[in-house]
């Protein structure tokens, strides 16, 4: 799917009444700059582009609709012209400001002409939702969100642009087809069929609800972890701000940190020991020694050792120093078979050697050692808790002295910890193994495994009742294959995308090295939790352009203030990068960001750039109107649009 923006027209809105075309002749210009000073209605235009593409405006509240009203207008109109795979598609949003309503009209040959409402043809509809649109009509919050724990925007973007959702669709179609057969087939056990169908419906709803709750809980826990970390740091700073307990607090924090490190060391030691079964319990050790004694006498694996005897027989001297004559040579070759066995003997030899070394040799670790470490862990945990209590007491003392800010943060911290504990308990319940006491009709049962297994059982029962076992088995195979394929594709794409992004980041940010560690649901950075605004924006562009460059769907990329928070060098690098990685690049820009960015984009796009400048007609812009060029100017009642590179270049900050 390839989508291009051909242009738009707006009247009666907060942005000037203008018509913008991004075509030159009948060809879409690969790059278009629209220079709009602050206050010209850039945000309104971007909101209109998003609303036209998603159909969202129909659900806007009257208050929201009224925010787009131009002073004396009772009606407004925004028209967006698109081409998708070379088919024309137009969305019109009509604003009725008197009643606070927005309504749509759609035009395309693929829907038979003009239709009221937001009615894109089915093949393009799947891309016209917030999930996709926010990728190409760049949402300023996107860079923040792809880096934020708890958000899944990075993974959603990958699924969207690499079409992984198509695999889910196939699985859904196969499942729906089996369910349709199972419903339609008349069965002798009609009551049982009805009962199974009803139960499956309930189980599916319960399973979906629990899965949603799980996603929400995991996401919130990640958020909470970051929030608590930040609050902890604020509380720590604030609590040490009064002289009275500053020294005591510092000391308690230092000792607590040291105690935590010691506790972590002990835990690591205990886990390392627990990996060895003979240290967990004496009986494991005894059983291992018994196993070793019962194994065959040592032999060599034929595959790797037979050549040794062949080569030894060719030598003039044996490894014991005695000469090897013809008789000895014959004996070595004949008797070598006695010492050779199949390849498994190599593994058995290693096993015997390891048991001897790890379990029997003097000085090796024993269950007593583990027991001692576990006791130390208990003691150390108490020490950590005691320091935490000391810190709490000192903070409380400062609160009692009247520090309301500290009191508020501490309260928030406690509340968040409670929320964290509640969510952790919920996740524990969701992830626990099924119990005999679990029931479908128990609303407090959140065990996902129980719900999944019961659903599976009921579907199997239904398949038997309706004689659709074969169909269901086939459906399950298709579902398993597609699920596995999504998982595999996602993993490999994420790995290669990480490499691509890091290569680009090194170019874009040569002076402040930043590396993506990995892409999970969100992008995580190596060695740091957060980044500066410029770094975030660079990561956002690099991530998005890497996606747009590799994904199979071609969307335009619309950016607002693309270079605002980037310094000169980064601007050039981003400028070189962006137009080469998307089929159409549209940028709203203010004059102060042009430097070093526009030239870089121009070069990368081989000069195929459309330069537009738009401003409102006000008393303050009268001087600009007096000096408009002779060509390429469209003037309306409240706005001016100038098409041309020279005017674009000259239009600078002073004139704004």
């Amino acid at each position: 799917m390839k989508i291009n923006i051909l242009g738009w027209k707006s009247t009666g809105l907060r942005s000037p009444d203008i018509e913008v075309t991004l075509e030159q002749g009948h060809k879409v210009t690969p790059v278009s700059f629209i220079q709009m000073p602050n206050g010209t209605g850039k945000t309104t235009t971007l909101d209109m582009l998003r609303a036209a593409l998603t159909g969202d405006a129909e659900n806007w509240t009257p208050e929201k609709v009224l925010t787009y009203k131009n002073q004396d207008q009772s009606e407004g109109l925004f028209v967006l012209h698109l081409a998708y795979d070379d088919t024309a598609l137009t969305f019109e949003i009509k604003f009725d400001f008197e009643n606070g309503r927005a309504s749509y009209r759609t035009t395309s040959p693929r829907i038979g002409g003009v239709k009221n409402g937001w009615n894109p043809p089915p093949d393009v509809r799947r891309f016209l939702n917030n999930r996709f649109v926010r990728l190409f009509i760049f949402d300023g919050e996107f860079p923040d969100k792809i880096l934020k724990a708890g958000e899944s925007d990075a993974e959603n973007a990958i699924d969207a642009l690499f079409q992984l959702y198509l695999l889910d669709e196939i699985a859904q179609k196969a499942t729906a087809d089996w369910e349709r057969h199972a419903k339609q087939v008349g069965s002798k056990s009609h009551k049982a069929q009805e009962h199974a169908l009803a139960l499956i419906k309930t189980l599916k709803a319960r399973k979906q609800a629990v899965e949603n709750a799980k996603t929400k809980a995991v996401s919130r826990l990640e958020e909470l972890s970051a929030e608590l970390k930040e609050l902890n740091s604020k509380i720590k700073k604030r609590a040490g701000s009064t002289q009275t307990n500053k020294k005591q607090l510092e000391e308690a924090h230092t000792l607590q940190e040291a105690a935590k490190v010691e506790l972590a060391n002990l835990l690591a030691q205990s886990i390392a020991l627990m990996r060895q079964p003979h240290i967990l319990h004496d009986s494991f050790g005894a059983a291992l020694v018994e196993l070793k004694d019962e194994l065959d006498q040592l032999k060599l694996p034929a595959n790797t050792s037979s050549q040794f005897f062949v080569e030894l027989a060719e030598e003039t001297e044996c490894i014991c120093g005695r000469p090897i004559d013809a008789t000895a040579k014959k004996a070595i070759l004949q008797r070598s078979h006695t010492y050779l066995a199949d390849d498994i003997s190599g593994v058995l030899n290693s096993l015997k050697h390891d048991i001897g070394l790890q379990v029997e040799s003097p000085g090796s670790a024993t269950p007593e050692k583990l027991s001692r470490i576990l006791q130390q862990i208990e003691k150390q945990a108490v020490v950590v808790r005691e320091y935490a209590q000391t810190i709490r007491v000192l903070i409380q003392a400062q609160i009692e002295e009247g520090d309301t800010q500290l009191a508020q943060w501490t309260k928030t911290h406690e509340d968040k910890q409670k929320e964290q504990a509640t969510l952790a308990l919920l996740l524990q319940e969701i992830n626990r193994p099924p119990l005999d006491t679990d029931r479908v009709d128990d609303p407090d049962c959140h065990c996902l495994k129980y719900l999944v297994c019961t659903l599976e059982d009921e579907q199997q029962k239904l398949a038997k009742i309706t004689k659709t076992v074969l169909l269901r088995s086939q459906t399950n195979i298709i579902r398993d294959i597609t699920a596995k394929a999504v998982e595999k594709a996602r993993a490999t794409i994420k790995t290669s995308l990480t490499t691509d992004c890091n290569q680009r980041l090194r170019k874009v940010l040569p002076r402040s090295p930043l590396e993506i560690e990995g892409i999970g649901q969100h992008v995580s950075l190596r060695g740091q939790l957060d980044a500066s605004m410029g770094q975030k924006l660079s990561i956002g562009y690099v991530f998005l352009t890497s996606l747009l460059g590799r994904g199979q769907n071609k969307f335009p990329l619309v950016l607002d203030s693309p270079a605002g928070s980037l310094d000169g060098e980064v601007r050039e690098e981003v400028g070189k990068l962006v137009p080469t990685l998307c089929s159409q690049f549209v940028s709203f820009i203010i004059s102060t960001e042009k430097q070093r960015f526009v030239d870089a984009v121009h070069k990368a796009a081989d000069g195929e750039v459309k330069y537009l400048t738009c401003f409102k007609i006000t008393k303050g812009t009268q001087e600009l109107i007096n000096r408009l060029p002779k060509k390429g100017v469209v003037k309306t009642a409240n706005g001016v649009l100038v098409d041309g590179e020279e005017y674009f270049d000259k239009f600078d900050l002073k004139e704004q």
Partner: protein
């Protein structure tokens, strides 16, 4: 639009791991390709689903006789 090579490889590998014939992967990829181009009707879906089902190898014990 062509499918991403990683997506194609993931389908081929998953089909192989599921112990199915390469023709199943070919049918799935053709379906994905047609869907990505938006060239699939409900009838097409149904036909493609039937083709894939009949190309599947089922475990012993699951057969038409069970139905």
């Amino acid at each position: 639009m062509n499918l991403d090579p990683e997506l194609i490889k993931a389908v081929e590998d998953s089909v192989k791991e599921a112990g199915q014939k390469a023709s199943v992967a070919a049918l799935l990829i053709a379906w994905l390709d047609a869907s990505s181009k938006g060239a699939v009707t409900a009838e097409d879906d149904s036909r493609r689903l039937d083709l894939i089902r009949s190309a599947l190898t089922l475990k012993e014990g699951v057969s038409k006789h069970e139905d």
